[in-house]
Structures are given as C-alpha cells and as structure tokens.
Symmetry: C2
Subunit: 203 residues, 2 copies
DNA sequence: GAGGGTTCCATATCGCTGTTATATACCGAC
DNA sequence: GTCGGTATATAACAGCGATATGGAACCCTC
C-alpha cells in the first residue's frame, strides 16, 4: 500500500503537477479513502517527502548506470548530462526534489548526490587534471559543479532554450569550469566531447 | 490600494512564507475584505505575479546602483554578488521570483535581467577579456553566468554553507568561468578580488 | 445642488483543500 | 470462537480561492 501510494503520487505529480496532488485525488487513484493516506503517512507533507526520496533513489540509480572510465573529466561530464536528462525527463519530480520547499528540518535525502560529486572532483584532482591546491574550500568545487548542474536544469525547465542547446551549453560550461580548475584546455575539450554525444533514452 | 496590497503581500511573503499568503490574510492585512483583492487583481495568481514584478523592480534598482568601472570583469563580479545578496536579504521574494512556478504563459518580467547579463558579457568581450569567437551560442555565456548566479543563491538558501563562504565561492566560480572564457588568470584574479569585499548592507 | 452611471467593496456562499473523530471491518493469537 | 489491535470508511471541521449579489461612494452632467 505504501509503495502503491508513492507510485500514484509520483504519477499524479508527473502528469498533472503539484496542485493536483491532493488527498482525495491520491486516495481515488489507488481506490481507497483519504484515511489510507493518513494511516501510512502522517500528512500530505510526508507523502511529498516520500516522493522526493523516491526521486533521489531513481536519480541515484541512473547515475549508477554510468560506467566509470579512466578519464575522470569525461565521467564528470557524463554525470552532469545524465543529471540534466533526468530533470528533463520528469520536470515535476525534479521540482519536487530540488525546487519546491522542503519541510523545515527535513533531513535531506539528496546529500548522497553531493558526496558523489565530491568523489568525482577528487578523482579529477588525483588524476592531475584539476589543481588541488587551488580549491578555495574543502568542498568548494563540488558545490560549484552542483551549482552548474542545477542552474542548467532550471534553465531548461524554464524552456528558454531547446533541450539540445541546453545539453550543448552544459557541456560547454563543464569545459569552461574544467579549464578554470586547472585542466589543460585541449585535454578538457577532448574529455567533454567524448561524453557529449550519447543522449540517453528517456525513462 | 493596489500598491498597498502588493506591499502587504510582499510583507506577508517575507515574514510568513508563501503558504501564509492567502486572500483573507491579505485582505485583513490592509483592513479590507477579500473582494478588494479580486477587484484590483483578478486572482491570487495575479497578486503573486504583481509581487514578482515588484521583486524584479527592486533587484533592477539594486543592480542600477552599482557603478560601472573600466574593468568589465570586476563589474560582472559585483553584479553577481549583489544578485546573491538580494536573494539572501529576502529569500521568500527570491523564491517567488525565480523558484516557485510562474503561471503558464506568464510574460516573464525577469527578461530584463538577462539582457543586462548579455550586455555585461559583451563588455568583457569588447574589452578583449573574453574570447568572442569561443562562445558556443549567441547568448551562451550569459546563460552560463546566470546559471552560476541562480545556482549559488539556491545553494545559499538551502543553507548548506554560511553566507560568507557562499560569497567567497561565488567569487571563485566567477574567476574560474572568466578564465574558462579566455581571460588571463592573473587579470581575472585581480578583477574578482577588487569587487569581492564590499558586502552591501542588507535592505 | 440633483440625478444617473460607474467603480469599489462587504456579505454570504460554493466547492475545494488538509486533517481528524468516530465507527466499522478485518485478521492473527490464544 | 473470541479477543485485541490495525486498517479503513464515513462524516465532519476549519480554512482556502473564487463568485454572486447588493449597497455605498464617487464623478460627471445638467
């Protein structure tokens, strides 16, 4: 029942947006009464929290499917593009995860994503691509890369640019940052190009 | 009356968040009945739209207050920091402007901000700081800089880092991007440092 | 100054929302 | 078979956005 409710909630969210995700609509979707929602979750906020957690799990799985190569900058690019594609594939889910207000003091289920970024940046540093001594904060560059990824998805969701241009722009920005982080321009260009092509199938 | 309602709405938003911005609360705040809201605006969505427009006007005014110098990269940094400070000064307003869902087909009152960015980037190119031939799209780098600014504000609003570290990080990221765009590293460093200090007074 | 038209707002109401109290049905343990 | 606890349905509450209706205030014209 719990998972059925979460799935139904994610479905309603994806098709009709967050305004449509109401107690009665959700209960009707699984053929139950509204009390089912309150037995398994305490409130609609906790339903949304569960949906968010589910979204993070899916994104985590999508990122896990990317093979690691011996080129950490190319891997970083691939990660960023998958992140973007995930946002484009289910914009409402992305908004639920990163945009809409999380309840205060919500233990953020997305922190794992950040740890992943930290590891990716570390690989670039260990491989001698980024200049370690230059990072201004312990996790500064990882934060900068997340800033890039999230900003790009938001740009894409506001559909100010067609999605193929967004992908191109994200690749370009990754390249610029890599160079800014100390990577050799021609090496960075090669790495980014390597991973720009394979547009993954939307789920 | 209209402006009184807008001001009251902005006040409610800033103090108690978007959930508190209801017809009845808004009407009570100005000592009127709910019909006043529907006479001057057609719906609560249009109230929110008006608040957003007001927010853009304030941000525009704040950016207008920054003097232009003969160092366009330093100016770009200053703009970014003021943008960040505006978001930190009134998070709910920032969310209303850039985060919460704008009604569909809402003619975006924020497009002026983007034109401003385009002009700033153009100045860097004209001054020979950025390499013009390298920009992948007509407005690509302006979009990348906005991505950085917005991503940083969101990072700050999620308070994952103290605000002074965020300011430092934004300055660093501006530096990295400038270098990626072709600026000389030492020149970029000097420009960014020049404008990193003066933390503007919160409004 | 009086009339007529228009604009603005208060009252009351509708259908919706999240949430909860109450009562019933089910289901495993003894 | 009966008990105890859990899960669900029904019904209700306050609050929400929105609207229909009616009255009050204004302004222009004569």
């Amino acid at each position: 029942m719990r998972t059925a409710l979460i799935d139904a909630a994610a479905r309603i969210l994806a098709t009709d947006g967050p305004r449509a995700l109401s107690t009665r609509r959700l209960a009707a979707e699984v053929g139950a009464s509204t009390m089912a929602v309150y037995t398994h979750f305490g409130s609609m906020d906790q339903v949304r929290h569960a949906v968010r957690t589910e979204g993070f799990a899916r994104l985590d799985a999508a990122l896990d499917r990317i093979p690691r190569t011996d080129d950490p900058v190319a891997d970083l690019t691939a990660d960023a593009l998958v992140y973007l594609d995930a946002g484009l594939a289910d914009p409402e889910m992305y908004r639920a995860m990163f945009v809409d207000r999380p309840p205060p003091a919500d233990t953020d289920p997305g922190s794992g994503l950040f740890q992943r970024l930290v590891a990716s940046v570390r690989r670039c540093i260990d491989a001698g691509r980024f200049d370690a001594a230059d990072d201004p904060l312990p996790l500064g560059w990882a934060a900068e890369i997340w800033t890039m990824q999230h900003g790009m998805v938001v740009l894409a969701l506001g559909d100010v640019l067609p999605t193929d241009q967004i992908r191109f722009l994200l690749a370009d920005m990754t390249y610029r940052l890599a160079v800014g982080f100390g990577d050799d321009p021609t090496a960075a260009h090669r790495s980014v190009r390597k991973r720009r092509r394979p547009r993954r199938t939307k789920r």
